[in-house]
Amino acid sequence: MSLSQFLDVVLPSDTSLNMPSATDLHIDKAVANLLEPQQIEEFLFILNNVAQEKFSNSLSSLDEKSYLLCIEKAKRVDVYLVNYIVQQCLTAYYTHPSVLTKIGSGAVPPFPDGNSLESDDWLLLEDVYERGPIYRKVI
């Protein structure tokens, strides 16, 4: 079981939303840069153990539902490590320029143009204005 197989399960592609999988984007390499090799090893070791204990099977042969259940159970062994690794995977995926473009996060750095916001109708403030001052005077 490798990190990229793990990523395949947790961040697969979604064709209806035109979202690539983490593996399509080689996110495993970015994740590896964010983590120590021992952390990844330790994490996969815990996951594999949970799979053996819970399903008497290797992680790679589990269906998605059972796999995700293993991640949940792995939190009972080391919640800090599991959450940390998952969050680093999400970070690597959601900082990829092509993902940022597809989810509509606006201009992607280095920000040549920035983003525009529609101009506001400040007449909306009429109601507030008409109610008059609300600050407390100190006399």
């Binding site: 959450n83 900082t95 989810i103 996060s105 750095p109 403030l125 109601d127 600050y135």
Partner: protein, 534 residues
């Protein structure tokens, strides 16, 4: 380096910069600012890269324990309901701040007179008004005149665009008959003071690479340097020696090589922040001040006020591009700012509308709260959350309490061996009631706007970024550290000009008031400079 200068300012953040600018208007004075951190290069801010959110978790984190830069000092938050946040570098915490820039209100200066809580300030809102105006001109503050929650404002740039999410909330505020107004924002919305307007990049809290956010490295400092102030970065002041006449003789500091140095001065001005200033004073022990400088009445480090926050998040059904635009600046409400006895608590709070969370924050918080699953349903759930969510921070007035304090922590030291700090802080019953009330009202608002609540909690653990009260101002030296001019009661050539001197905290972000106060104090120093500098 000259053996003696007229004025040393310690700290280059919000208050140190304003002090440097104001005092250097007298070109006869030699002024040196000593800053423990480095100068940042906006061209290398995280937001110049697509993966800026990674740096937010490390090098640009607002938690100094996470950043652990050479300039940072350890903070032990284990006995505190709230963890402290700051930035130690040239420009101080304004490098990372959101730029939300409301002033204190008139009632904030008279909480005892009005509500029989805490103590009154020795001056009122009117006295500070010229300094508020001057500061807003220097910092570049956007907003809209006519706000019913304040007396008149001057010098505002056009307001920051509120965005479609805030517009929904504004309409809901109107339907409920509640106050709201465009936020006062230290963000250029047109060219101002040689700085360009904001182009809605969004992530203000890792440093503004565009230069539109008014952080003091690009507002006050360029002018202060032109006026002759010399800045020594990567130098940490660790002691302020005092002679037998109770005069500060200058400062002792470690230079960038770690070598101990002394610089003499006629006047010493502290602007190291609400935690850095008491830390330096507590570390400056001598025969005359065995418990730390100015601490013979055990006041230094006490009365720490932090503005505990509640956070409520709502998710709209339709996409509203909520992640786009300056994160902490769109609209705000003062509907619940002033005391109303039937609410069951004294004083009040601000509703500070925040834009939606960024991509990584959305994904990670969605995972932790189980709102966004992993696996094949992930993208669908993410797409219904990201750019649909808005947050509201309830900023509560924090009443002073001597038990809320910082002390030196000798078990953890900084890169030069100076002790870190330990924080002792808990929430008052009054604050808890206020935050619970704020959460209920905010839920009502989101419901009125048609959003579903996705989070509601208090206190926000990592939000200790408003640091106030630790060397309080007052008339009586047994009950305060400095007088109404920021001058130490016991050492007449030592001034404190940052938010450490706040007597009460108000319930708005502090920089507008802290800098106005700095300008007021420095006006006094400047007019009386001959008392200290011959």
């Amino acid at each position: 380096m000259t053996a003696k200068v007229d004025i040393i300012i310690v700290g280059s953040g919000a208050s140190g910069a304003a002090a440097a600018w104001r005092l250097s208007q007298d070109s006869n004075l030699s002024i040196v600012c000593i800053e423990q951190g480095r100068e940042s290069n906006p061209a290398q801010y995280p937001t110049t890269k697509a993966d800026w959110e990674r740096d937010k978790q490390r090098s640009a984190s607002f938690d100094p324990n996470v950043r652990a830069n050479k300039a940072d000092y350890p903070i032990d938050n284990s006995n505190s309901a709230i963890s402290l946040a700051n930035f130690n570098g040239f420009g101080g915490s304004t490098i990372l701040y959101s730029g939300h820039f409301p002033r204190f209100h008139p009632s904030d200066f008279a909480t005892y007179k009005l509500d029989k809580v805490a103590e009154d300030w020795p001056f009122d809102y009117q006295t500070l008004t010229p300094y508020f105006n001057q500061n807003e001109e220097m910092m570049g503050v956007a907003g809209l005149v006519g706000d019913t929650a304040y007396p008149e404002y001057e010098n505002l740039l056009p307001p920051v665009a509120m965005g479609r999410g805030a517009k929904k909330l504004a309409q809901a505020f109107n339907r409920l008959g509640w106050h709201w107004w465009p936020s006062y924002s230290a963000i250029n919305t047109k060219n101002h003071q040689n700085r360009p307007p904001c182009i809605n990049l969004g992530p203000c809290n890792t440093g503004c690479s565009q230069g539109a956010k008014g952080s003091v490295d690009i507002t006050y400092w360029p002018q202060a340097k032109l006026q002759g102030v010399q800045v020594m970065t990567e130098c940490r002041v660790f002691d302020i020696p005092v002679d037998k006449e109770l005069k500060a003789t200058g400062v002792k500091y470690y230079d960038k090589h770690g070598d101990e140095q002394f610089l003499a001065a006629s006047l010493v001005i502290l602007a190291c922040s609400g935690i850095g200033t008491p830390r330096l004073l507590l570390n400056s022990k001598s025969e005359l001040f065995p418990n730390g400088l100015l601490n013979n009445y055990d006041l230094v480090g006490r009365n720490l006020m932090l503005h505990p926050l509640a956070y409520v998040e709502g998710v709209f059904d339709e996409p509203l591009d909520t992640s786009i635009g300056p994160q902490g600046c769109s609209i705000y409400s003062q509907q619940f700012y002033e005391t109303q006895e039937d609410r069951g608590f004294k004083r009040g709070y601000t509703l500070h509308v925040l834009r939606g969370s960024s991509a990584v924050d959305s994904a990670c918080s969605g995972y932790i709260t189980r709102r966004i699953p992993l696996g094949k349903n992930h993208h669908q759930a993410f797409s219904q959350y990201f750019n649909h969510n808005m947050g509201i921070a309830v900023i509560s007035e924090d009443l002073p309490d001597p038990e809320n304090r910082i002390e030196l922590d000798y078990s953890k030291t900084d890169s030069f061996g100076m002790p870190g700090i330990k924080v002792h802080y808990s929430l008052h019953e009054n604050t808890k009631k206020m935050l619970e009330h704020g959460i209920e009202q905010t839920k009502k608002l989101f419901a009125e706007a048609g959003a579903k609540i996705s989070a509601a909690h208090y206190p926000v653990k990592h939000a200790g970024w408003h640091l106030m009260g630790t060397t309080k101002m007052g008339a009586d030296k047994t009950n305060s550290v400095v007088n109404e001019h920021g001058q130490a009661h016991e050492v007449s050539n030592l001034f404190i000009v940052d938010s450490s001197v706040f007597i009460t905290s108000g319930a708005v972000n502090p920089v507008a008031t802290a800098q106005a106060l700095t300008l007021k104090f420095c006006d006094h120093i400047s007019k009386n400079i001959k008392s200290w500098v011959v």
